[in-house]
Amino acid sequence: MSASEVATTADGPNPPERDAGPAPAGGEVTDTRTFRVFRWKRGGADDSHMETYGGVPIGPRTTVLEALRWIQLHLDRSLILRHSCFHASCGTCGLRVNGREVLGCVTFAHDLGTVITVEPIANVPVLADLVVDMTEFYERYPDGWTQLRTSGFLPDAETPGGIDGYERYEDCIECGLCLSACPIASTSEGYFGPAALAAAQRLLEEPRGGVDAREILDQADDPLGAWRCHAIFECTEACPSGVRPAERIMSLRGALVGGSLRPIHREPSEP
């Protein structure tokens, strides 16, 4: 979708305040940045556009999310964004910043250039401005997959490799960045997507709670499942939690062509 450019001016509907106050966070103001932000509101013609907010004060540790909050508080009350935890646990503030999928809450604005472009994640519909509707993200999970379920302690759960062995798919925070980064999801809305397939591999890697491995494999063995992936690995690059969805899809394929399911572990260097 193309988006025209609009600059917020002092004469506009949301005039910037002259004395906007300190940097949103991260100590003293050391610099300013210009933010180009995607805007779209429902209820009219397709008037999506990029709006420019200049002079946003930042410090060395100001995050993109904090800067956007500052814009919201001081320049434009109508800017809609979504966040929750502020520490990369909830996955709510997934954005595309300068074209790359990131969590706004843990991405520092300082090193992103003087003009920072912020867009909602791709391949899911926009609700308003930077907020997307995640319903379609979940609908890519095939029917009957039970990856998302109420947390609980199962009496028959075993931990042969210790707790480290569980530090894998549980890391998925369902932020949707993998789906946004996936070039194939752009051209195939029916594709299960990296998160769903990673979930399937995770279920097979550590089956519990009566998982039917054959059924999971049969469902993944679908033209729009494991075989739709082109092994581009952008989902792994985008994932803020080290889930490594692409590697998991490749592992699934190994099992689907008759091999064993290779376990995928986190990169040792990842936090």
Binding site: S151, E189, W227, L256
Partner: protein, 140 residues
Amino acid sequence: MASLRTRTRPGTSTSAARRRRTPRAASTARDWKLVTFTGVGLLGLLLVHMIGHHFVVGEVGGLRNYDQVLDYIAHPVIFTIESFFLLFVTVHAMLGVRSVLLDLDPAPAWRRAIDVGAVVLGLGTLAYGYFLIGTLASRA
């Protein structure tokens, strides 16, 4: 979004679920295995093809003149290798072209046309290729 909960589905299906129910032509496990098998096979065949043409035949510079080429292709071993090479490269190429075209997310009618087109073009390529090497081998 990261809450652990039982997934619920809204009453009305959106595009992802709706489109998944639509029959689609796409690459399957069989296609992927075939691409991989022919691809790995081509690596070996290509190595033989290149070495045979450019390093073994002829003292310098490999196959060059008309008679050399005809003698080369008429050799039973070479004829067999080149026949397999033609088969593998055609299957690999047609599956690849089909995959590229399917990534353009064509409408169902076009997907069918792409499948048929790839088969027809592949068969045509094989027919002409075998006619070519058969005719040349017979002239040696």
